[in-house]
Amino acid sequence: MNDQLQLKDLDKVVIRFSGDSGDGMQLTGNQFTSSAAHHGNDVVTLPDFPAEIRAPAGTIAGISGFQLQFGNQRVNTPGDFPDVLIAMNPASLRANIKDLRPAGFAIVDLDAFDERGIKKAGYADGVNPLDPEHTLGKKVIAAPITSQTMAALESLDMPKKDKERCKNFFTLGVLYFLYDTSPDLTLNWINVKFAKKPLVAEANTKALHEGMIYARNSGLFQSQYRVGSAKLRPGTYKSLTGNEATGLGLVAAAERAGLKLFLGSYPITPATTILEEVAAHKDFDVKALQMEDEIAGICCAIGAAWAGNLAATNTSGPGIALKGEAMGLAMILELPLVIVNVQRGGPSTGLPTKTEQSDLMQAMYGRNGESPIPVIAAKSPAHCFDMAIEASRLALKYMTPVILLTDGYLGNGAEAFRIPDVNELPDLTVKFRTNPEGYQSYARDPKTNARQWVKPGTPGLANRIGGLEKDKLTGAVSHDPENHDHMVRARREKVEGIANDIADLEIIGDQKGGDILIIGWGSTYGAINNKVNRYRAAGKSVSQAHFTHIFPFPKNTLEVLKKFKKIVVAEMNLGQLNSLLRAEYAIDTIPLTKIQGKPFTEDEIEVVVDKLL
């Protein structure tokens, strides 16, 4: 132990890892995350994948990033700007240095800063990227990570390339030391992972240890930091990405409903990992079909819903655009169906690997005719689990498709998920109609307005349904004008009635009202919450209300809105929820919009809100 190093306490830290696709940044980030979580920190993470599979090594296009925030309290987001930047090559430094907090520091692999590397990063000839001019005066710690790793592994009989690969564990070691975090979890992971390649295990273990030692002894670092453990709700936790959580939520919902899960899908970034998660659970007899396109994906799900499964389909914005016609069919058939949209940057192909909230209007209206479908949204990665269950609950109870909106930020981002006791999850048990007596396929339950679900094959209940308008009771095709008018309104009323079955809109802050209410939905929850907390700590009357249910809105929405002098609606789009609120309540609101592939930073909220205070 180098006694010269100061030990400093910190509330939270944001680290960004950046390197080539091949540098293992995702792995490194995930390992650090697990260790910090075990240490008792709250951690939220976000990978930043390159748009190309593996663009030329060393270029900016080829950078793969991973950011995490860990703290001694709820951190809510992976953080706006990094306190620490790990840059494995010049391109990574160049692309990220502007984001580094002025008080922060970067750690770079000096060995990668050779002429070739510098050129690949697009610096002009003769430039030294480490010159303050290029580091914007920020602190950069240049450590010869590759050569130190090689030196550490000198004694091992391995190809040079393989040794070089260990540099990410060396880097991890540096960080474990710096943040006083135990490496045990990672050491254990290495042993399990490379059980069949003991040499690799040994090399990685060694690199990790040497990294810790190097951090202590190299003299490059003046301080060691400690982030205390967070006061989380007691329980057992694991780290889940939003997409894993959505997939597991669907599996859980099916179990709780006593149904088989059916997912009809087609791969698309950033939604594919939901399909992959579900497909992994064949022991639950799930059917996860990769179909020929998105239309087939939803259509087979409709067929499965009709046949009696808990059916779902998942995609991203362009896929929803293709599913619109079939969504209308599911709606008019009044079959349960969960439709997940992991939103990404649009329009069109847009920015597929970036996040955005610009598919809300599409969710509301992207179908022909009056085609009301409930829309709900998850607010954090772990919350995706709850919302997948909630979507299933509404779908099954009200015999309707339900749209669940998440986004790339939630889908790829991870946070601590408190593992629930299965018996405490909602009971979604379904009763199929089996009694032929007096059955009419569009007769509605007086409470929910839902029609009944009949499994094809059930004796005595054979019936035929379709996409044409149908008689309000028998379900037979009807061209009667009044019946059509009735049915159009009945379908909407059914969905609007869900307002009676969902939680009230909660005010986080001044329960009796106040100056400013910041409204949001979906993945911006954490960003807004952090800022609102800061305002409130500073004694400002700024409150938050965050929609998880958007269509229908919670019953008390207008009541809440009326309590505040000014209402700011913050979204990663051009004001879509804002439009919905105005249309519904004819009230004036102030939109706060950002379309940059990432959630609001606290500063960005400040710019708008400060002026209103």
């Binding site: 694991k238 259509c299 087979c300 409709i302 006791d421 094959g457 019936n463 996409g467």
Partner: protein, 336 residues
């Protein structure tokens, strides 16, 4: 088939009017399906009829079974889901040539390729009926419709060739004016495990009347041939013509003029796909007759069965999924 089925055709006829035009070939297809299914011994509720949009797609309304009238072109995708979700259902799909081969072409391709256990009736009238007479992918080149006032400039698609190229495990052609033959094909399809592709030439009296007259009405014997397993391919009013092989393609010859050994013998069950591909050329063009019958039927695992097998294996290996265990798995930590 069940000789002593407890059901009659009437059990398969729902109340409510059939709304096709008088004389439409769809009536006769419907009648045979009702008849054949009533003979299977299975209850009407064991069957699911799924369709898209088109005149032909009204089919489910006219069967006293479970029915889903979907959206244009998507019946096979919907049916795939229903079949995988509940393999015990016997799933039939009725589709038009537009519905199944134009907008629905992709689902057709992939349903055949995957060998999903669906009985697919392609009611091929070579025209868009419901939208009042535009050309379809099976319309012949030069056909004049309002959307092609000088005639189409497209060659028709042959669903038999297409299905065979995709490894179709049951590929057959029949026609609305031969009830007995239709019934036979439907019966065989009922018994088939994978995807059964049945092209039924169907006369649309309103918009394409007579399109198949050469092959369906008086004198048809001269231009049609029935594929019968194990038999020599002979046809003609007096059985005077036959099919022989010339190069790699079929050719019409006179029985009297060829060595009997050169007459092609049909084998529905041939393991290799060569014969069926060869016979697919018998579609009434290039001086060759229109062939009716089963071009090929082979045993191959149905998609839903293979899916089930994997799930069963997974359960056998890991035990039936336990939700609490699943949630608890992986790297966890405890906060107290």
């Amino acid at each position: 088939m069940n000789a002593e089925s407890q059901f009659t055709k009437k059990d398969f006829v729902p109340t409510g009017e059939v709304k096709w035009c008088a004389g439409c070939g769809d009536f006769s297809i419907l009648a045979q399906v009702q008849k054949v299914l009533s003979e299977t011994g299975k209850s009407p509720e064991s069957f699911a009829f799924i369709s898209g949009i088109g005149c032909s797609s009204r089919f489910p309304y006219y069967m006293n079974c479970y029915g889903l009238h979907g959206i244009h072109g998507r019946a096979l995708a919907i049916a795939t889901g229903a079949k995988v979700a509940n393999p015990a259902l016997e799933v039939w799909v009725a589709m038009g040539d537009g519905d199944g081969l134009a907008i629905g072409g992709n689902h057709f391709v992939h349903a055949v390729r995957r060998n999903v256990g669906i009985k697919g009736i392609l009611m091929d009238n070579r025209i868009y009926g419901l939208t009042k007479g535009q050309f379809s992918p099976t319309s012949f080149r030069g056909q004049k419709t309002k959307t092609a006032p000088m005639g189409t400039v497209e060659d028709p698609l042959d669903p038999i060739s297409l299905s065979l190229s995709l490894g179709g495990t049951f590929v057959a052609r029949t026609q609305d004016r031969d009830p007995k033959h239709m019934a036979e094909i439907f019966r065989r399809a009922h018994e088939h495990e994978g995807f059964a592709m049945m092209q039924v030439l169907q006369n649309c009296v309103i918009f394409n009347d007579g399109a198949f007259d050469d092959w369906c009405t008086k004198g048809k014997e001269e231009h049609t041939i029935k594929l019968v397993h194990g038999e020599k391919m002979i046809f003609g009013m007096e059985n005077e013509k036959c099919i022989i092989r010339q190069g790699f393609s079929p050719k019409v010859a006179l029985v009297a003029e060829v060595d009997a050994n050169n007459i092609v013998i049909h084998d529905e069950f041939a393991a290799d796909p060569g014969l069926a591909g060869f016979l697919a050329q018998l579609n009434g063009t290039h001086g060759l007759p229109m062939a009716y019958g089963i071009f090929r039927q082979i045993k191959a695992p149905a998609y839903e069965a293979e899916y089930r097998r994997q799930n069963d294996e997974a359960v056998a290996k890991k035990g039936p999924g336990n939700l609490q265990k699943l949630l608890n798995s992986g790297e966890t930590w405890t906060v107290s």
